[in-house]
Chain length 361, copies 2
């Protein structure tokens, strides 16, 4: 793409700051190297081939995906794909087995039903799929809750043709714990994790892979004893939530939505053309739905579908109709797939356009 000013874009438009992305990539790679952790970033945050390729180039030993479409897309840039999602359903399995044979495929799952379906599909396709048993260490979403259940499923995996037991995985989900309290929380998590790992070892099924880590807990991952791999997702772009919890600095926010001021009729607020359909109306860890990139004290107080209502009651900033702003949303991962493409900039100059190739399923 030829150099393009942001001024030439229709709004709303999703913007990625490549300088910041590169710094974010380097920081996490350095952290992983320092602590001897394999880095397997979760690509659900960006869903783009190009950013996946940058992650691999920056030292990721593989990628994580949440959907089969993400697996299909990321297989273009990585030979080592972890689907961190139970593989249930014939069509999902069929697509997964159609991934190029060069791709080492690992699946995280927590049920015998999912395991047996996967193994059958793998046998039919003449593949062997690595399996991680998903543990619930307190998130209460998916995952097995007792060492006994984990051992039982690992045993089935180890003895079933078509799959190979490789280890365990978990998602910490500590997003609402303040960073200062994280070390204690993660020590407790380490102990829970150890009870699973010990039970697997005692059963003759020592986990080769212990995969954890998320952006909220990212920089304390080394406190989890026995961890071999981290899977940070939104850290490559960051968002208002990650800054609020202290997992990233404001200068590391690499994603924003460019918007135009379209109305100033109602006193105390201005209206922009980025609403729920561009930012996502997801409650965050602070009031409102986003803040301005250049004025983080100015809050998007409400969203309707195509309207963002910016509170200007506590700022002297008074934008004119037609002025453009960039909004950092609460949660980048749900804003990105609202856009067909990401406009990549260095400073204010466009340097590339990336298709959000894995949006949808």
């Amino acid at each position: 793409m030829s150099a393009l000013s942001l001024d030439a874009l229709d709004t709303p438009a999703a913007i990625v700051d490549l300088d910041r992305v590169e710094r974010n990539l380097q920081r996490v790679a350095a952290y992983a190297r320092e602590h001897g952790l394999r880095l397997r970033p979760h690509t659900k945050t960006h869903k783009t081939v190009e950013l996946g390729a940058l992650q691999v180039a920056a030292g990721a030993s593989g990628v994580t995906v949440a959907t089969v479409l993400e697996a299909e897309v990321m297989a273009r840039v990585s030979d080592d794909v972890l689907l961190a999602y139970p593989t249930v359903g014939a069509r999902r399995l069929a697509r997964l087995m159609a991934l190029p044979s060069r791709v080492r495929l690992t699946v995280a799952l927590d049920s015998r039903e999912a395991l047996e379906g996967l193994a059958q599909a793998a046998r039919d396709a003449g593949r062997t799929v690595d399996v991680l048993v998903e543990l619930d260490l307190g998130m209460r979403r998916v995952g097995l809750r007792t060492p006994e259940d984990a051992v039982a499923l690992a045993r089935v995996a180890a003895s079933t043709t078509g799959v190979a037991f490789r280890g365990v995985t978990f998602y910490a989900g500590h997003i609402r714990i303040p960073q200062a309290e994280l070390p204690a929380a993660m020590q407790a998590q380490s102990q829970t994790l150890a009870s699973f790992v010990d039970a697997l070892r005692a059963a003759g099924l020592p986990p080769e892979v212990v995969s954890g880590g998320s952006t909220p807990t990212l920089w304390q991952s080394h406190l989890v004893r026995g961890l071999t791999e981290i899977r940070p997702g939104l850290n490559v772009l960051n968002d208002r939530n990650s800054v609020t919890i202290g997992a990233s600095d404001w200068s590391e926010c690499a994603y924003s939505v460019l918007a135009t001021v379209v109305s100033t009729a109602v006193p105390g607020q201005v209206v922009i053309d980025a609403g729920a359909k561009a930012l996502a109306k997801e409650e965050g860890l602070a009031p409102g739905y986003g803040v301005l990139l250049d004025r983080p004290e100015v809050v998007v107080k409400n969203l309707s579908e195509e309207h963002g209502l910016i509170d200007v009651s506590a700022t002297t900033w008074r934008p004119r109709i037609g002025e453009r702003v960039r909004v950092v949303p609460n949660h980048v991962c749900v804003s990105v797939p609202l856009h067909a493409r990401l406009h990549v900039v260095r400073g204010d100059t466009g340097v590339a356009t990336w298709e959000v190739a894995a949006r949808g399923w």
Copy 2:
């Protein structure tokens, strides 16, 4: 498309029940006819050419859109398009002026800046664009708040080449008012509206069009004196919110997201593969993010990106892994654009696939 069972679809998948859509279309058309109101449905809810065409066939005298892309898409099925959004920005205006000349274009706006930009673009394109002055009758989003401001903007519109003053528009935004209290609220709104209309008449600018109405207030629209046109949006599909406020019946919910149960590991809940990226994690008027179409007492209590957590603590229903469910989300208008296409069914049989042609901008 040949007849297709829902079983053949990958999940998550957006499903539209065509029998229900047809009943919804007939009901609103009958209401509009009975009360002598023109019907201009807001197509932002569905963003599909096919559903726009059905609305026109069922008696809509034109369509409403929120974005230029919606205008471009809906111009394929209607010659009378209202853009209910301020036209700010050179690229937005250029695209709007490139609409086919057969399209009678009306724009709602609330500022002189937007008006002058539109008029200039219209003159450059050799068009005349109809203008509705946007009023704020209490929603506090966009719109002029005093009759004096409305008269001033209408006067500029009436005297500016390239645009023609046609009337006024407003969005009621009464979504949190119980249906039982709506008539009183709408009487009050009528009085406010009358003060605007009277002022315009006194200024020699009688509004030919008085356009209002939304799904929450839809069935009481005739209580607004002087209203000439209604613009219901989500009423064609409905959702959990519209049922909660009593603006639609459960049997009128025509949109759901088909999902597969992928985990039952955590007691008291089951996990489906429709999360925030399929349903939209928007707070609604009742706790949770959606309910099951066939079991509306069963609530989706939380969403992460690709996980929906269904609370089964208060039901005897115990689905198995692999079982499929259909979820009615809180707000259909923000769920639809998460999908590339809508799978249209009669009963459980697929009869068509509609592209969400106007998703994006």
